[in-house]
């Protein structure tokens, strides 16, 4: 195995040394150089100038050795990254950088770049790869350790100058994104809370339907058990009958427990779990929640599920929630006056772009055209006692799945809600 680094240090010579303003100042450069330093020091963003020439030398040596896939090479030769972190120096830094890293003065940051990558060594590797591939800029979110030991989240931007001889002026900016990330995490939590709240609210609205779904198998169990006792208490117990009845008791118990399990999943969990799903199955499960309301109100349900659909990547409970919301909206729309006979169509299909689509259409009064753009806004509602969270949650769930959600009025009347998701890569 060759030793490119020893070659490197010979070739780059003085450039590897930690000398500030390494190049001898020349008269014509002086004024521009001074203006540049003033600007660098006054900028309110944390700026660090590093001398990337040793890196360029290492990469050049690797390239002349025939290396083309740096990513794989660095995977195998971890020590290269460590060495580069030692031989590259911060040559200048501004006050904002000193503040960000908690240094007393900007000069305290003039040292090997190693300290920048202590928490996130893989960021150094990616920076090297970007340089190797001739990229001008490299941006990534990373963690850095301040001099007092605290770790913060930053967005790193590396700008490599194009002419290789200016690589000693490679600029790194660091933006403290700790607050931004915390805010984003809070927003996600808030969204999860809302999502959870709407699920509970939806379940509340469906309480009688759910009670019926659970009561039905329980009633069958009770009756079958009594019938078994009657067979057993006869003078000639019919054991074959009892065996048959006991098997049916078990079936109904499983059915009841499956229903309870689904309800609990809908009510309790709010950490999404992604996996490949058959959308048609999700539709059938969602129907379980509203099945009874649909029947009790003698609503004409038409189910048109396309066969052979590819699976989609998604969270079963969240997608169920979207479909249940569509269905509940449809049921409520049908309740508003007697616009239609009470009909809900639900269907799945592969659309022209290869996405797996679902739609729910009702024959209620439809959506006021003025409101079409706003139905997915949080807190927008036209219902007397609605809170308007339902469709907003649907939209954020579908968006989180990389899909599209659409509200429209059907030309023949009634509202039509739909979403489409990309098929799961197999």
């Amino acid at each position: 195995m060759n030793e490119p680094l020893s070659i490197v240090s010979e070739r780059v010579g003085a450039a590897a040394q930690p000398v500030r303003h390494a190049r001898p100042p020349r008269a014509e450069e002086d004024a521009g150089e001074r203006r540049y330093r003033r600007l660098l020091h006054r900028l309110p963003i944390a700026l660090v100038q590093i001398d990337a020439r040793p890196l360029a030398a290492v990469l050049g040596a690797l390239r002349s050795d025939g290396e083309t896939d740096l990513s794989a090479c660095l995977e195998a030769r971890d020590e290269l990254v460590r060495t580069v972190r030692q031989i590259m120096y911060v040559t200048d830094a501004n006050q904002a950088a000193a503040t960000l890293f908690g240094a007393a003065t900007a000069d305290a940051l003039v040292r090997p770049i190693d300290f920048l990558f202590q928490v996130a060594p893989e960021a150094a590797r990616r920076m090297m790869i970007a340089c190797f591939e001739g990229k001008r800029r490299h941006v990534e979110l990373m963690k850095v350790r301040k001099l007092d030991g605290r770790v913060i989240d930053v967005e790193l931007t590396v700008t490599f100058p194009v002419p290789p001889e200016q690589l000693d002026m490679t600029l790194l900016t660091f933006e403290d994104v700790t607050d931004r990330l915390r805010t984003e995490a809070q927003l996600r939590q808030l969204q999860a809370d809302y999502s959870h709240a709407t699920r509970i609210a939806t379940l509340g609205e469906l309480a009688s339907s759910i009670a019926h779904e659970v009561n039905q198998p329980l009633a069958a169990i009770a009756m079958n058990a009594e019938t078994s006792l009657r067979w057993l208490s006869r003078d000639d117990p019919n054991l074959a009958k009892v065996a048959d009845l006991t098997a049916r008791v078990a079936d109904s118990a499983h059915r009841a427990s499956e229903i309870v399990h689904r309800i609990r999943a809908m009510a309790a969990r709010d950490v999404p779990e992604r996996g490949p799903l058959h959308l048609n199955e999700v539709v059938r499960e969602a129907l379980l929640f509203v099945h009874h309301d649909i029947e009790a109100r003698a609503i004409d349900l038409s189910l048109d599920l396309a066969a052979g659909l590819p699976r989609v990547m998604g969270d079963r409970v969240q997608l169920q929630q979207v479909i249940v919301n569509f269905l509940v909206n449809g049921l409520q729309a049908i309740g508003q006056g007697n616009a239609g006979r009470g009909r809900i169509e639900i269907g799945t299909a592969l659309d022209e772009k290869g996405a797996v689509g679902l739609f729910v259409r009702d024959d209620g009064p439809g959506i006021d055209p003025e409101n079409l753009d706003r139905v997915f806004d949080g807190f927008f509602t036209t219902k007397k006692d609605g809170v308007g969270i339902g469709l907003a949650i649907c939209q954020s769930i579908v968006a989180a799945h990389g899909g599209r959600i659409v509200a429209a009025n059907h030309p023949d009347g009634g509202a039509r809600f739909s979403f489409a998701l990309a098929p799961a890569a197999d």
Binding site: H212, Q216, A219, A220, E226, R230, K241
Partner: protein, 120 residues
């Protein structure tokens, strides 16, 4: 042996009713819906009807109304799960002898059936 028609859209419930009636010594003929039952109906064929109220296609109340309109004179007992008091009252107005709520204890149902058959 009295013949009893059993109507419930839920298969497990329908089978449970059929078997209970069987062990009590009746002949039970199960139907998944009112349409299927009406297609099979002939005067004198059944001695009693045990029916659910909430069923797709044709509900129990409407079925009782139709039976009355055709002068069927078939005693009926309703066994239902979550129908509201209004629907139950409607069923009683349409001639149902009793409205029982699931889960129905077997002896209660059999007692109702016994007195309905005595009356008929």
């Amino acid at each position: 042996m009295p013949v009893i028609a059993v109507l419930d859209d839920d298969a497990a419930m329908r089978d449970a009713l059929r078997d209970l009636l069987q062990v009590a010594g009746f002949t039970a003929i199960p139907y998944a819906g009112a349409q299927a039952f009406l297609a099979d109906f002939a005067p004198g064929r059944f001695d009693l009807l045990v029916t659910d109220l909430r069923m797709p296609e044709l509900g129990g109340v409407e079925l009782l109304r139709r039976l009355r309109a055709m002068g069927a004179n078939l005693p009926a007992i309703v066994v239902t799960s979550s129908s509201g008091p209004q629907t139950k009252a409607q069923a009683l107005r349409e001639g149902a002898l009793a409205c029982l709520t699931k889960p129905v204890p077997g002896d209660v149902l059999l007692r109702c059936i016994g007195s309905a058959l005595d009356r008929g």
